[in-house]
Symmetry: C3
């Protein structure tokens, strides 16, 4: 695992996916999942329009070929071919001439960021519209305009991808990224790319847990997956939603609704051990698909790993390839692998010599520092693991209480198991 090198590869995949016009259904999602199949053997599911999923039903499938607004000289003053953000996602087909006054009722801009195109959707309210730079809006002259949205909104399918890696047990770790955003780099694509590379670079077997990677459109996609997998949900022991993992900010971890789930504690210790600035924020029912996984009927132990959760470029054309850094993508992947390392190794052990300290010296565990043995940090971890391995404390508990880095707790545990002083509880 070479994070800088992988960061470059991740950025290349992200750049490859960037131009595709995705929405919650349609060929953009299919194209995205197919490209991911070059990296991960995804299973692709198609769920027909009208399928009931809890309180919702799968919507019509939306596809778009072209869209524009032409002025009286025939010039495309708004052109889908320039940016797929120009069209409101799920806009119904339109082919009309209208005066600027009427057209303006369908145009949306960001006056406070006049050079950015906003991103808008209208999934469940049939309408149409264009998003554009505010500077462009100001340039539009009175007169008639030809409006064309060459889209289709018809019965079809909702598409999602899934990759399941069986482990030693059927207990699962779920990683989920949404795949419904058009050309937005950090919110969406960074999460997809981190999930895909994590699937490619899982630690080698044997693995304690099975791993499931879900690439689905936000909300309706997550709900659809939950609907078809209700019987499997009790197996989900831990989970993370991935998004906004490519910007230059430090990590932000949003806790699961439970707040003290093992995943919450594992991420907290991982970020603590990294020693770099980060934020742990409590669950709130706004955000990404953790809203669905953490709804009260499911209440799954699923948090959300991000870097900057709020940034000015969010849901605008400025969330582009420049915002996303290879280094940040690689480091995000490394963080995920560290979290997995905690989850894989967080077990309880019993000190086999619990009355007083065992004699470390005659087992080569003490004073070894001077002879290339454990460092001071490892030696301290050895003492903590022995002291707290009473059947009540897991390695994560020990890392939390002792302040020792999890990696030292883990290597200390391995050394103690080798010496016979520790057995799994």
């Amino acid at each position: 695992m070479n994070p800088p090198l992988l960061g470059q590869e991740m950025w290349a995949l992200l750049a490859d996916l960037y131009p595709i016009c995705r929405s919650i259904t349609g060929d953009g999602v299919r194209a995205t999942l197919r490209r991911l199949q070059a990296h991960v053997p995804l299973t692709i599911h198609e769920v027909p329009t009208g399928t009931s999923v809890f309180d919702w039903s799968v919507p019509k499938e939306w596809n778009i070929r072209d869209a524009y607004v032409k002025d009286s000289r025939g010039t495309r003053v708004i052109d889908f071919r320039e940016s797929n953000l120009h069209v409101i996602s799920y806009s119904v087909p339109v082919r009309r001439r209208m005066a600027l006054a009427e057209l303006k009722g369908h145009l949306f801009t960001l006056p406070e960021h006049p050079d950015w195109i906003p991103n808008r959707t209208s999934y469940y309210d049939e309408s149409w519209g264009f998003c554009l730079r505010h500077t462009r809006l100001l340039e539009l002259e009175d007169g008639d305009y030809d409006v064309c949205i060459d889209s289709s909104l018809e019965d079809g399918n909702l598409t999602y991808g899934e990759y399941y890696v069986p482990g030693s047990s059927t207990d699962e770790v779920l990683f989920s990224a949404h795949v419904c955003h058009p050309s937005l780099a950090n919110d969406n694509l960074s999460g997809i790319v981190v999930a895909a590379f994590l699937a490619k670079h899982l630690p080698p077997p044997p693995r304690r847990y099975s791993y499931r990677f879900l690439f689905a459109p936000a909300t309706i996609g997550a709900l659809t997956w939950l609907h078809f997998n209700e019987s499997r949900l009790p197996r989900i022991r831990h989970g993370l939603v991935f998004t906004c993992l490519g910007d230059a900010g430090g990590h932000t971890y949003k806790q699961s609704r439970r707040g003290d789930a093992e995943i919450d504690r594992a991420v907290k210790v991982t970020l603590r051990d990294q020693g770099t600035p980060h934020r742990i924020v409590p669950f709130a029912p706004s955000g990404y698909d953790e809203r669905q996984f953490c709804s009260p009927g499911f209440n799954l132990p699923v948090g959300c790993l991000m870097r900057s959760p709020q940034y000015p470029e969010y849901h605008t054309s400025a969330d582009d390839l420049d915002l996303v850094q290879p280094q940040a993508l690689g480091a995000s992947l490394a963080t995920c692998l560290e979290v997995i390392d905690v989850l894989e190794h967080d077990r309880r052990y019993m000190n086999q010599s619990p009355y007083g300290e065992p004699q470390l010296g005659r087992r080569g565990l003490y004073h070894l520092r001077e002879r290339g043995g454990p460092t001071a940090a490892e030696l301290l971890a050895i003492k903590w693991v022995l002291n707290l391995s009473d059947g009540k404390h897991s390695l994560l508990d020990i890392a939390e209480r002792s302040g020792c880095q999890f990696r030292y707790v883990k290597t200390a545990t391995a050394a103690l198991v080798d010496s016979g002083l520790l057995k799994e509880a």
Copy 2:
């Protein structure tokens, strides 16, 4: 409810009650309660001297007509008619001539505030004395003085008032104010006036709780009420002692002995939502009648709502009408009504669509902001109420955890009940 206007009315009542010479028994209490009857249909109880109440017994009744100290020229150098604080409450009758040296053993001043008359009592230790300005004491010349306290201390009654408003259940909310202080405006009268106006301005029925308002002398009055109502005490679900509610300071809430009772949390959220400076202080067995309600045998969930709990003018003649502001009285009343609003509405609900988020859009609950619907704060409250309405969280729990104002949690709940998404648990 117009707090500023009511504040003026409250101040007028307070000014009307101010001149009366009250003590823990006697005609001053009766006169006070009779004037309150113009606002609230109080029941007035008379409890005979000698009645046993727990560790105490009702004392003799004390009344006073006049009192003075005259110098050798016949001039009243201390005159009860000027201020009823001049006489120590419960002073026994005196009619003697004595030299200044002997008199001084019965004179009390505040050298650090030479222009203020202190307030003193001697309820359970038969004696007599005068309180006066230190400046006046310094003016007294050697010589003989005629001392007169035209009081009576005889078998009679202890008087208290009570007003009970039945609600949908016999579970009660108790509000209590002491009525035993003479001309002191903030400590005592402000609490009486807030309680009286709260009784007048309860929210319209149906009301979940029954409400009881108690106007009784401090300590012995509260104990007497507790004595005669022991069988009713299990009905008291919440309670507040009112005092010092008219000064310009922010609110101070002193928690019940339990510390985490619903009343403690309701007041805390109310003050948090007001967004103005305030203090929450833990219970201590000093203060007002919460000492009796929170004694270990009762341990009732009763806190104490104040503004400034300690102020230089406390128990002196400077605790006068100037210290009390109509605006503060009105705002204190508003606070009490907000606390009642929390108590009345703090119930548990069940999300009827707990698997994933329900589709708010088709119920007109989402994106309504742009069309005059819920504000962002209400929409967030809708999401929180849905997420936490799992039968374990009450609306107060939700307001606490989410940080949403209780009023938004309440209106969100109403909208969700209307839409069928929520039912009372």
Copy 3:
């Protein structure tokens, strides 16, 4: 108890013990314990080499008569007679001539403190060596040196001392100090001296608890005592390890592994009441013999009372008589006695008049301040003790929750018991 005077006596004992060359076995320990017998009727135990104690066995006994390194002119350039720190403890006998280059492999200094001799041991790894000032090392010229360590390492005994003072119950308080350090004043001797004087100055009987004082070599001594007293361990209700109690720093208390044991809370309240700077630090499995007492198989409620836990002179010749102050020794003793006072008096009582406040005045408990009765602090403590004496709160609980000093809680309790208002639960 006169702490300043006792501090002088304690310092004198410490100075008397200072020159002895102690180790984990041998005549130095015996000489130390014999001198302590002049103060405390210690029982001295001898445990043979090879005795199994948990994961360890009692090592060979080490004694030393002389040691030196002589240069070619016959001058002792390193001389055990100057400081017993010059020889690594448990050095095997040596009598050889060798070149400086070879000798240097056995010489240890502190380059960062060139005038201090470090303290080193090699208990479980047969070797030999000398510690010296770095300045002296630099002076050594090339050439041959005569090396002599006139020590013995043979089957013998491990020696420890014990003093048991029976109380009203067989529940025990354990105080432990290690006795294995050579001429180091603060780390070791200060703890020994505080323990000895505490044994001499226990409060007069009747005492609720039995008290046990243990003077044993670190680690192996504590383990040996634990081994021979396993059946008695359930009697240990509270315990403290004493060390580093003579320097000028404020107290540091290291909590037991439990963290919330009564001893942890008693020491915390005692230090809080003293009102001087101090630190409470959590348990960690490094430090002194609390490591053994708090190993997971025992998990005894034993903390460690110190002053400065880390100081530059630690384990060097600079930890000498100048570092230890009579005043600090006396004040440490006073602290220990205050902790014992809390433990002896921490009981639960029942308020016999729990309905409302009892009438303090007629029992002479109220308003007494003005007449030489309780101070305001005692009066407040009276109210707290009454309020919380519901069978669930001990006096320590009350001191913690109320913030009242334990001594006021105690005297308030005594007054209330005298008045009949309180009975032991």
